[in-house]
Amino acid sequence: MNKLMIFCFILTILLPGAALGEESPIGKIKTGTGEVMVLRNSNESALHPGDSLYQSDIIRTRARSSVGILFDDNTVLSLGPESEIVIEEYIFAPQQGKFSMITRMLKGTASYLSGIIGRQAPDSVKFSTPDTTIGIRGTKFLVKVIGKAGHPPPVFLSSGP
């Protein structure tokens, strides 16, 4: 009972922070080449090193473009040219024991290196492609996704007649 009360007390301290968490940055662009775009709240804008990322961001790289992202928990995610990835959920709240990173890769190439979330709560890391879900046990991997027939990569559109 006593423990429960302490827990509630802590929650009241931390909840305002948790509510803010939805709009607070989750990581930063560290490196980049060419044109890297983010789709956020239905607006597309360019990303540059030093820029912050937020939950629900959709990150796209154009031809001959690439980007390196460092998340707050030290997860490293890099994208090669003509890639697209959705950060569906990112929760890094170690003081509350809350961790989640749900990433959906639609196309292109990516490199992923686990951070604290992957070490503390590997089951809360979900990385999916149109074909698979990838379960991660503290590690580094590369992914290449060749887009679905229904979603041709832009290179097909621009090379059309």
């Binding site: 490196t31 690439s66 890099s78 170690p94 190439t109 074909d131 046990r137 580094k140 290449k144 996704v145």
Partner: protein, 212 residues
């Protein structure tokens, strides 16, 4: 004998073709052009972890460096595991490997019991931290304070935050721009060594300084 087999076979034929047609339809609707290749790499420290590549049809476990697997569509099981050589991997993933950011460097400094004073050994690590920040031109330094599980959670939350702030002050005193430093407290919630509640553990009384 032969008649029997022929008789048996004949009704099977339409079944096989209908299976073929449904497989083809399935491929069209599930996006037959879609294909994912996953390659496991060694971690920066040389250790090799594990990834489980799963589809609705099955799964493959990669646990050796440079093992790779291909999945074609969400229904089919992933293909056989193959081992690529590092040069192949480099050529397929050249652009993404080139842009991979430097991995943050982490320093762990320890405190005396129920105190915000650094141990002597940790004092000695300070020059290395300053040097790393300067070498990387880092404008992103994150200090996280931690405690062991002795004492109440809310007290430890504050103590850990105090430790992080003390550390920030030390870095500023050594010429690092305070605007580039963020401090947070994990209280007793993120121990280096997992213990029961109310256990003294010097290795949990720490700040972690991450130079990003």
């Amino acid at each position: 004998m032969t008649k029997q087999t022929i008789l048996k076979r004949e009704p099977k034929m339409p079944r096989i073709s209908s299976i073929l047609i449904s497989v083809l339809l399935l491929m069209v609707f599930s996006g037959c052009g879609s294909k994912s290749t996953i390659v496991l790499l060694p971690d920066p420290d040389g250790k090799v972890g594990q990834v489980v590549v799963a589809t609705e049809g099955g799964q493959q476990v990669l646990n050796q460096a440079y093992q790779a697997v291909e999945a074609k569509g969400p229904k089919a099981p992933p293909g056989e595991i193959v081992v690529l050589n590092p040069e192949e991997v480099q050529s397929i993933f050249a652009e993404v490997i080139a842009v991979d950011p430097l991995i943050p460097v982490k320093f762990i400094l320890y405190f005396l019991l129920n105190s915000n004073e650094l141990t002597d050994e940790s004092q000695d690590e300070l020059p290395q931290i300053i040097k790393t920040v300067e070498e990387r031109n880092s404008t992103d330094i994150v200090i996280t304070g931690h405690t062991d599980t002795v004492g109440a959670m809310e007290y430890n939350y504050k103590l850990a935050l105090e430790r992080a702030e003390i550390m920030k002050g030390i870095l500023i005193a050594n010429g690092i721009n305070g605007d580039n430093i963020t401090t947070t407290s994990h209280g007793e919630g993120n121990p280096l060594i997992k213990t029961q509640d109310d256990v003294e553990e010097p290795r949990n009384r720490r700040v972690e300084v991450v130079v990003r």
